[in-house]
C-alpha cells in the first residue's frame, strides 16, 4: 500500500467534510483494502466510517425495510426483520463472499463500489429500493450508472437504503468458481407495482430484464422465464464464462429465483 492518512470521524457531516479531493471513504474495506494493497489505487486519506453509529442498523416500519449503510452482511443475514420482511434479501446477504468477509463487508460499501459482480445491486434494483445519502435520495436504478460507477458525487456518502417490502422475492446466484462473486445473479421481486427482474454479474452493471418482467407479470412461475433469452451482445465475456453462457445462465437463474420466491 502507498502511504495515506487516516481519519475516523464519529458523525456523517464530519465525515463528509473530512473528505478531500484524493480521499476515499472506508466502509467495510473488503474491496477497497485489497485494491490499495495491490497498489491498484492510491489515496491521500481514508475516512473510516466505522465509528459512525447512525450508519448502522436495520429498521422495519410499515411497508418499508431500512438498512443503514454500515450494516454488515452478517447482520443483514441474521436480522429477524429482514427474514420476515424480505427473506430473499437475508439469503442474498448470507451468501456474499465468505464468513469473514460478511463479518466486515457492508451494504453501503458494496453498492458504492458497484462491482458488476456484486449481489446487492440486483436486490436494490429488483426491489425498487431507494439509496439515501447525506445529500439526497436516489432510486436504485438511477444510482447504479455503469461499471464501478454510481450517481454518488465526490463528497457524498450513502447513509442508508430503504426497500419497499415486496409480495415475494427470490435470488439465485451462479458463483464464479474462483472468486465466488456472481457470474450471474438474478433477483426477482413481485411488488405492488409489478414484477421486477434485475440481473447482476452478466453485464457491465446491474440491469433489468424487461421480457422476463412482462412474462412473470402475467404468470409468476419458473416456466414463464426459463425459455426467455437475453441478448448476449452486451454481456460480459471472460475466461470464466462467455457472453452466450451468461445469457443462458440468466434464464436458468431467473427460473430458480422464481422458484425460490415461492
Amino acid at each position: 500500500m502507498y502511504s495515506f492518512d487516516y481519519e475516523r470521524p464519529s458523525g456523517v457531516n464530519e465525515a463528509a467534510s473530512a473528505l478531500g479531493e484524493d480521499d476515499k471513504f472506508l466502509a467495510g474495506g473488503q474491496t477497497l483494502l485489497p485494491t490499495l494493497k495491490l497498489r491498484l489505487s492510491q489515496v491521500d486519506k481514508l475516512v473510516d466510517l466505522g465509528a459512525i453509529g447512525e450508519l448502522k442498523g436495520i429498521a422495519k416500519s410499515g411497508s418499508e425495510l431500512t438498512i443503514g449503510a454500515m450494516t454488515t452482511h452478517v447482520t443483514v443475514a441474521n436480522s429477524g426483520d429482514v427474514k420476515s420482511a424480505i427473506p430473499a434479501l437475508g439469503s442474498l446477504a448470507a451468501h456474499i463472499g465468505d464468513a469473514q468477509v460478511r463479518n466486515r463487508g457492508t451494504i453501503g460499501g458494496s453498492i458504492a463500489n458497484n462491482d458488476p459482480a456484486a449481489d446487492y445491486p440486483a436486490a436494490l434494483v429488483a426491489l425498487g429500493a431507494t439509496v439515501h445519502t447525506n445529500k439526497r435520495s436516489i432510486s436504485a436504478e438511477d444510482f447504479f450508472v455503469d461499471l464501478f460507477e454510481t450517481a454518488l458525487e465526490d463528497d457524498e456518502l450513502v447513509t442508508k437504503v430503504s426497500f419497499p417490502i415486496p409480495e415475494k422475492a427470490g435470488y439465485a446466484k451462479f458463483p464464479n468458481p474462483a472468486s465466488r462473486f456472481a457470474l450471474v445473479g438474478v433477483f426477482v421481486a413481485k411488488t405492488a407495482s409489478g414484477v421486477r427482474v434485475a440481473v447482476t454479474g452478466a453485464g457491465p452493471s446491474v440491469f433489468r430484464q424487461s421480457d422476463m418482467e412482462a412474462a412473470l407479470g402475467s404468470n409468476f412461475a419458473a416456466d414463464a422465464v426459463s425459455g426467455i433469452k437475453t441478448d448476449a451482445s452486451g454481456l460480459n465475456s471472460d475466461i470464466h464464462a462467455s457472453a452466450d453462457y451468461r445469457s443462458h445462465l440468466i434464464s436458468v437463474m431467473a427460473a430458480r429465483a422464481v422458484t425460490a420466491a415461492g
Partner: protein, 783 residues
C-alpha cells in the same frame, strides 16, 4: 511383540502441537537484526529486449540500500540457473539449455521475469523505489501456446534453441509398435490436453540471506524441499560460495508439491545481495508473484493411439506429446515429460509394444517443472483416458477391459517396453476392492434415479501406476540425471537414551517427525516422545537429496533403517561384552538385547549409556552410539491402485458434483495409516482441482497471465469436494528394507483420469480439463 507407537500405528503427529498453537517457524516468521528487505522489479512484458535500465532516481529514493541488475551479478561472476537433467534428442544432440540469469540481462521472456532487485530499509520503501526504476523495453511478439511455439514462423525466444525446440525425444520401439498396429482389429485415437497448473502451496516462497563478514560464511534460510541440493547448485554452478561456506536452512515449510524443489532466481539473488550489502536481506513472495514465478506443472498436448485385437487385448500403444517448458528450463524440467512420463505409459497393462515421442519447447510463460506427480499424472491421464475410450469403442465395460489387460499378479518382476521393471503388484485386487467400495454394480440404478431428477450421472475409473521412491543413482545417471538420488541418515543416541535422527529428507507437511520416529520407536524400543527428527539444515544433516517424488520413506526411511542396523550391530557387541556372552548368542527385538536361552537382557538405553560411559566396554570398539548411513535404492517403488469417481451433472448449468469417490491403493507396508490416508486425500483433491477447477491461462496475444490471483485461478475449496472412501491393499515392496512404496503423489496421479472418465461417461462426449461448467454445458448441448 508389538511396540506402542511403532510401525503400523496411526500415531497422532508430533509436529502438530506447534502448528495448532501458532508456534511453527515458517520463513517469513524469522527476522535478523539489521535486516533489510528485498523486492523484485518484474517485467510487465511477456517478451522484450532490455535496451537500458536507469536506476538513478530509484537509488536516491528514501531508505534504499542498493539496487542490483543482471549486469551486476554477471560482473560479480555469478553463473546462471541450471537444469540438472540432460535429455538427448532422437538425433543424438543434447537438449538446448539457454542461459538463465537470476536477473535478466538483455531480454525478458515472460511476464514476471526478474529485472532488478531493490534492497531497502522497509518493504514499502523497496516497492516505492522500484516504481522509480526506468527500464527501456523493446517489446517483441510473444508466444505462449506450445503448439504455436513449435510451429514454423513462431517468435524465436532463445537464439540457442532454433524453432523454440528444447528436445525431440523418443522412447520404445517404433518399428515393433507400427507392426502391432498393422495387425490391430481396432485402433482407438484420442487427443488430449493436460492443463497447466499453478502449485500454490499455501506458504509463499521466501528467502532470508545472512552474511558473516568475519568468517565469510553465507546462510540462506529458504522455503526448500531439498536444502542440500540448493546449496550444491548455488555453489557449483552459480559460484555464490563454496559449499563449506554456504549453509542452507529450510525451517518449517508450508507445503511444496514440487514447487519448492527448484533453485529459483529470487533465492539466489537474495543470498548474493546479502553479501553485497553486508546485511541480512529478506524477500517474501506475495501470492501474485507466486503465480508469476513458482514453476508451473503439466501443460502437455498429446495425441495417442491404442491398438487392440478382436478379443479386446491390447497390442500396441503410440503416444506423441508436445510439452511446454516455459521461458527457461527449470531445475528438473527436462525429466518431467521424458523419464518421469514416457516410462509409465505401460500403466498396469501388458502392452507388447509402446512408442512415445515428446517434443519440448520454449514459450513466453513461467517455467514448467515437477508438480505433484510430475510426468506420472500426465502418463496416467493418457493411458487411462484412452483405456476408457477404447472400452467404449469395443462395447466393453471399462473395468472389464482393464481387468482383461492387467499384468497378472504372478508376472513379477515385469519388464515393460518402456524400460521399467515393476517389482510387485496385484492390480485386480485393488480394482475389485474399489468397485465394491463404490457399489459399481448398483450404478445403473443410481443413474436411473438421477435421470428421473433431470440430472446426468457418470462413473469413471482410473487404474494408475507410478514409479516413485526416486531413485537408483546408476539408473537415473544413465538416463541423464546430474545427481545421485540416494538418501542419508544419522541415528544418534544421547547418553540418557533419547535419540536424534538426522535425515536428508525434508518434511513440509508429510509428517516425517512422526513417521520416522515410529521407525526408531519400533526398531529400537525408544519412546516416540524421546525421538527427535532433525531435517532441513545443511549444517546439521550430513547430506540429503530432499523430498519429492514420493521418496522420503522408501529412500530416506530406508537410510534410517540402515543406520539402525548399524546401531543394532554395535549394540550387540556391547551387550555381549556386558552380559559375558558371545555376539552370536545375542538376540535383539525392539530395543531389547537378550542372551539366547537365558533371561539375561539389556535395553537399548542401558547399552547407549554404556557406550558413552565406557568403563566396562569391549576393548576393540569405539565409544559412542551414533551411526550414519547412505542408502541408494535398488529400484523405484511402484504404488498402484484404482480410483473410481461418481458424478452427477446439472444439464441446465453444466455443474459437476462429485457424489462419491473410492480409492483402493497399494502402498506396500504402511508405517502410519492416518498419515497415508491424509496424503491420499490431499493428492485426490489436487487431482480433482486439475480436472474440474484449475488451469493457468495466458492471453495469447499479449502473453499476460490471466489467472494471476485467487480471483481467477480456481483453488479447490471445502465445498468443491466430497468426503473420500479410502482403502489399501498390500503387496510389500521387495526393493527396500521397509517394504514400503510412496503415497504422496498417488491421489494426484489417479484422480484426473478417474474424474474425467466419469464426466465423459455422464455426458457421452470427450472434453478437456478443467471440466468447467461452461465446457460441460456446451458439450451437453452441442450435437
Amino acid at each position: 511383540m508389538s511396540v506402542e507407537n511403532g510401525i503400523g500405528a496411526p500415531v497422532r503427529r508430533k509436529e502438530d502441537q506447534r502448528f495448532i498453537t501458532g508456534n511453527g517457524h515458517y520463513l517469513d516468521d524469522m527476522n535478523k537484526v539489521g535486516q533489510a528487505y528485498g523486492y523484485f522489479l518484474r517485467s510487465p512484458h511477456a517478451f522484450a529486449k532490455i535496451k537500458g535500465i536507469d536506476l538513478n532516481a530509484a537509488k536516491a529514493a528514501p531508505g534504499v540500500v542498493d539496487i542490483f541488475t543482471g549486469q551486476d551479478m554477471v560482473a560479480d561472476g555469478i553463473g546462471g540457473l541450471i537444469c540438472g537433467w540432460g535429455i538427448t534428442s532422437k538425433d543424438g544432440t543434447p537438449h538446448k539449455a539457454p542461459p538463465h540469469n537470476s536477473l535478466a540481462v538483455d531480454a525478458v521472456r515472460h511476464v514476471g521475469d526478474q529485472v532488478a532487485f531493490v534492497v531497502a530499509e522497509t518493504l514499502q520503501q523497496a516497492k516505492d523505489a522500484a516504481e522509480l526504476i526506468e527500464v527501456d523495453y523493446e517489446p517483441l511478439t510473444p508466444v505462449t501456446n506450445i503448439a504455436k511455439a513449435l510451429a514454423p514462423g513462431a517468435p524465436q525466444i532463445h537464439e540457442e534453441a532454433p524453432g523454440n525446440l528444447c528436445f525431440d525425444w523418443e522412447l520404445g520401439d517404433k518399428a515393433a509398435t507400427d507392426t502391432a498396429f498393422a495387425k490391430a482389429a481396432h485402433v482407438t485415437k484420442l487427443d488430449l490436453v493436460n492443463n497447466r497448473l499453478s502449485p500454490n502451496p499455501m506458504e509463499p516462497r521466501a528467502a532470508l540471506g545472512d552474511y558473516d563478514a568475519g568468517t565469510g560464511e553465507l546462510t540462506l534460510y529458504t522455503t526448500s524441499q531439498n536444502p542440500h541440493v540448493a546449496r550444491l547448485i548455488m555453489s557449483a554452478f552459480l559460484a555464490i560460495a563454496p559449499e563449506n561456506k554456504l549453509r542452507v536452512v529450510a525451517p518449517d515449510v508450508g507445503g511444496g508439491f514440487g514447487s519448492k524443489i527448484f533453485v529459483y532466481a529470487e533465492e539466489t539473488t537474495t543470498i548474493w545481495a546479502a553479501k553485497k550489502v553486508n546485511r541480512p536481506v529478506k524477500w517474501t513472495s506475495d501470492r501474485s508473484e507466486a503465480f508469476l514465478t513458482d514453476a508451473h506443472g503439466r501443460d502437455h498436448v498429446t495425441h495417442a493411439e491404442l491398438a487392440t485385437d478382436a478379443d479386446g487385448k491390447i497390442l500396441g500403444f503410440k503416444v506423441s506429446t508436445k510439452a511446454n517448458m516455459g521461458a527457461y528450463l527449470s531445475t528438473f524440467a527436462s525429466a518431467v515429460p521424458t523419464y518421469l512420463y514416457g516410462t509409465l505409459l505401460s500403466g498396469q497393462y501388458k502392452i507388447p509394444s509402446i512408442y512415445c515421442e515428446v517434443q519440448a519447447g520454449f514459450t513466453n510463460t513461467t517455467a514448467v517443472d515437477a508438480y505433484r506427480g510430475a510426468g506420472r499424472p500426465e502418463a496416467t491421464y493418457v493411458v487411462e483416458r484412452i483405456m476408457d475410450t477404447a472400452a467404449r469403442d469395443l462395447n466393453m465395460d471399462p473395468t472389464e477391459f482393464r481387468l482383461k489387460n492387467f499384468i497378472p499378479s504372478d508376472a513379477y518382476p515385469y519388464e515393460t517396453p518402456v524400460i521399467m521393471t515393476y517389482d510387485a503388484g496385484d492390480y485386480a485386487t485393488a480394482m475389485n476392492m474399489a468397485k465394491d467400495m463404490i457399489d459399481y454394480s448398483g450404478f445403473t440404478a443410481r443413474k436411473a434415479k438421477s435421470e428421473a431428477n433431470g440430472k446426468l450421472r457418470g462413473i469413471g475409473s482410473a487404474a494408475y501406476i507410478e514409479a516413485c521412491g526416486i531413485a537408483p543413482s546408476a539408473a537415473v545417471g544413465s538416463l541423464g540425471a546430474g545427481v545421485g538420488l540416494w538418501e542419508s541418515a544419522e541415528v544418534r543416541f544421547n547418553p540418557t537414551g533419547s535419540v536424534t535422527v538426522f535425515t536428508g529428507s525434508h518434511s513440509h507437511g508429510q509428517g516425517h517427525e512422526t513417521t520416522f520416529a515410529q521407525i526408531i520407536s519400533d526398531k529400537l524400543g525408544v519412546d516416540i516422545n524421546s525421538v527427535e527428527v532433525v531435517h532441513g539444515d545443511t549444517d546439521k544433516v550430513p547430506f540429503g537429496m530432499g523430498t519429492y517424488g514420493s521418496r522420503s520413506l522408501a529412500v530416506g526411511g530406508s537410510a534410517i533403517v540402515k543406520a539402525v542396523d548399524k546401531i543394532v550391530e554395535k549394540s550387540k557387541k556391547i551387550a555381549a561384552h556386558l552380559m559375558e556372552a558371545s555376539v552370536e548368542d545375542i538376540e535383539h527385538e525392539h530395543g531389547v538385547f537378550s542372551v539366547a536361552g537365558t533371561d539375561k537382557k539389556l535395553t537399548m538405553g542401558e547399552i547407549a549409556f554404556a557406550a558413552y560411559v565406557p568403563h566396562n566396554y569391549p576393548a576393540d570398539l569405539e565409544p559412542g552410539m551414533a551411526e550414519n548411513a547412505f542408502y541408494d535404492p535398488l529400484n523405484f517403488t511402484f504404488p498402484a491402485g484404482t480410483h473410481i469417481a461418481e458424478v452427477e451433472i446439472d444439464p441446465a448449468t453444466g455443474v459437476v458434483e462429485i457424489v462419491d469417490w473410492a480409492a483402493a491403493d497399494d502402498f506396500g507396508n504402511i508405517i502410519n495409516p492416518m498419515i497415508v490416508e491424509g496424503q491420499v486425500h490431499g493428492g485426490v483433491a489436487q487431482g480433482i482441482g486439475q480436472a474440474l477447477l484449475e488451469g493457468v491461462q495466458y492471453d495469447e496475444e499479449s502473453g499476460q497471465l490471466l489467472t494471476g490471483s485467487y480471483m481467477d485461478y480456481c483453488m479447490p475449496r471445502a465445498d468443491n469436494l466430497p468426503s473420500f472412501r479410502i482403502a489399501t491393499t498390500n503387496t510389500p515392496c521387495p526393493s527396500n528394507p521397509l517394504g514400503v512404496k510412496g503415497c504422496g503423489e498417488a491421489g494426484a496421479i489417479a484422480a484426473p483420469a478417474a474424474l474425467m472418465n466419469a464426466i465423459v461417461n455422464a455426458i457421452g462426449r470427450d472434453i478437456d480439463m478443467p471440466a468447467t461448467p461452461e465446457k460441460v454445458w456446451r458439450a451437453i448441448n452441442t450435437h
